[in-house]
């Protein structure tokens, strides 16, 4: 049995999205910048996709910029806000300690360029409050950038409340909504979001295409110079098939959002309940404000990479914030941010579901995971020391 539980990494494309894309590889391969009929047809399709995406997000079409994905959108949003801020002498940015690296690494670069960044603590649960944001905003704050939902531990941040604080204090608010869009309701107007990043392949669309939503009037800084595509803000011939696929997948996800979320969350809760029975394990992330498809645990006494490899042997494809999978000795910054010691952070497992996940698959995972955890614990010297009372249990 092959059980794919790594939907936070990427998803299977929906049939609707594949079918929508196909003509733009084949019959209608025009360049939207061309003046002939083939080109103009491509241009129309591009603009239809923009209208579709805008309506799914509560935006207007002019506010939608197609990018190569979530990382590019994050980079451009932050760079743009920094440029605007610097012009007014405002060089302070507020964020959280558990953002995606597309955000964190861009901020690190800005720090080297003279910006000051405050990383809000996310506590044990892995969340922030609007009060924390309100307290940390300064006179010279030019941007608040906070993810809508965390990619590892699934916590959903109070984005609407944070948006309200930022609007009141007249500070630009960007959110990396890569894990959220298509899975939980998102409306940029209602949530008072100034800029938002999303990526198609997280909601059954194609890889290599994303969106930066930027509220009208926000002057964007180009990351890619060249032609006048995307209102001159993102050069390069549009990835038309990808954009069409993104729009089709987003519309499908938005149309079925509540039924999918309900179904996926029920399976998630079954998985959480079952895995909670493993002794010395802990569920990470916000239990209540949680992505419908996210399950994230730490198991004491074992290491994440060996857990993933063994699960793969059983056909279960999962993920971990484990250092060993990324070639670094440091465990996930997200798990350290919620206060886990390194030892515990090394033993992490992320299972991310989608609406294609079945109950049989969850039952199978619940049968296999406890066995694999036990097998690894039985060969772990640190587990033996804990069982013999030589070392203390940490969870």
């Amino acid at each position: 049995m092959q059980v794919y539980l790594d939907n936070a990494a990427t998803t299977k494309m929906s049939r609707t999205a594949i079918d929508a894309m196909f003509p733009y590889f084949d019959e209608y391969y025009g360049n939207p910048s061309s003046l002939h009929s083939m080109g103009q047809r491509a241009k129309e399709v591009l603009e239809e996709a923009r209208v579709c995406v805008a309506s799914c997000l509560g935006a207007v079409p002019d506010e939608i910029l197609f990018t190569s994905g979530g990382s590019e959108a994050d980079n451009q949003a932050i760079r743009s806000a920094a440029t605007i801020g610097a012009r007014k002498g405002k060089k302070h940015i507020l964020t959280t300690a558990f953002e995606h690296h597309a955000v964190l690494h861009t901020l690190k670069k800005l720090e080297k360029e003279g910006f000051e960044v405050t990383y809000l603590s996310v506590g044990r649960v892995g969340n922030v409050t609007p009060e924390q944001v309100a307290e940390a905003i300064r006179e010279d704050t030019c941007l608040v950038t906070m993810m809508t939902a965390n990619n590892e531990i699934g916590s959903i941040l109070p984005i609407a409340e944070i948006g309200a604080v930022c609007r009141e204090r007249k500070v630009l608010f960007h959110t990396d909504a890569v894990q959220a869009v298509g899975h939980i309701p998102m409306n940029v107007q209602e949530m008072q979001i100034d800029m938002l990043s999303l990526s198609a392949h997280k909601f059954h669309g194609p890889k290599g295409v994303g969106v930066l939503y930027a509220r009208k009037g926000i002057a964007l800084t180009n990351l890619i110079e060249g032609g006048a595509q995307e209102r001159g803000k993102r050069a390069g011939t549009e990835n038309l098939a990808g954009i069409v696929g993104l729009a089709a997948a987003l519309k499908e996800a938005t149309d079925h959002l509540s039924e999918n979320a309900e179904k996926v969350a029920a399976l998630r809760d079954k998985l959480i309940q079952g895995l909670s029975g493993i002794p010395h394990s802990i569920l990470n992330g916000d239990r209540v404000r949680r992505l419908p498809g996210n399950v994230h645990f730490c198991f004491e006494g074992i290491e994440g990479e060996s857990l993933l490899l063994l699960l793969d042997e059983y056909g279960i494809e999962a993920s971990s914030g484990s250092a060993c999978t990324s070639g670094s000795l440091d465990p996930s910054h997200v798990l350290l941010a919620i206060g886990h010691p390194h030892e515990i952070a090394h033993g992490s497992l992320r299972l991310s579901l989608s609406e294609y996940t079945t109950e049989e698959e969850i039952d199978f995972a619940l049968e296999v995971i406890p066995k694999v955890v036990e097998r690894l614990r039985n060969m772990s010297p640190i587990w033996r020391d804990k069982m013999n009372g030589i070392k203390p249990f940490l969870i």
């Binding site: 074992i302 290491e303 990479e305 060996s306 490899l309 484990s322 390194h342 090394h346 060969m379 010297p381």
Partner: protein, 141 residues
């Protein structure tokens, strides 16, 4: 997964010599939980020969495979040969390790050296300090 060679995967999935030797006369532990790797080697040495060897490992796939391979390479061998086992030999026997996983083979070499050093100390056998210089300090929590 193409991350590891077939041999690494074989030793990871079917590790040889896993467990504890209750009456071991040489035990060596290296690594620490902070880095995500702990390796512990148990030796039963008789007449200068490694009659039995077992290991326990907390760590990634290549750490478990390296421990397994290292125990295979020294089982039944005289101590002099076991002391000559290098991390490179462990990695080569596994048909190679990714560059950033080479430290796993280093841990295996060091764990064996530590276990032998422990045996020498327990038995009051004089030893060449130079051989054990690298494992005498700097490990553990």
């Amino acid at each position: 997964m193409a991350l590891y060679s077939e041999k690494v995967m074989d030793h990871f999935k079917n590790p040889r010599n896993v467990g504890v030797i209750e009456d071991a006369n040489g035990v060596g532990e290296v690594g620490n939980a902070k880095c995500g790797d702990i390796m512990k080697i148990y030796l039963k040495i008789e007449n200068g020969i490694i009659e039995d060897v077992k290991f326990e490992t907390f760590g990634c796939g290549s750490a478990i495979a390296s421990s397994s391979m290292a125990t295979e390479l020294i089982k039944g061998k005289p101590l002099s040969e076991a002391l000559e086992l290098t991390n490179k030999a462990v990695a080569e026997a596994l048909d190679g390790l990714p560059a950033y996983k080479m430290h796993c083979s280093v841990l295996a070499e060091e764990a064996i050296k530590r276990a032998i050093l422990d045996y020498y100390k327990r038995e009051g056998i004089p030893y060449d300090e130079e051989t054990f210089r690298e494992v005498e300090c700097c490990h553990g929590e």
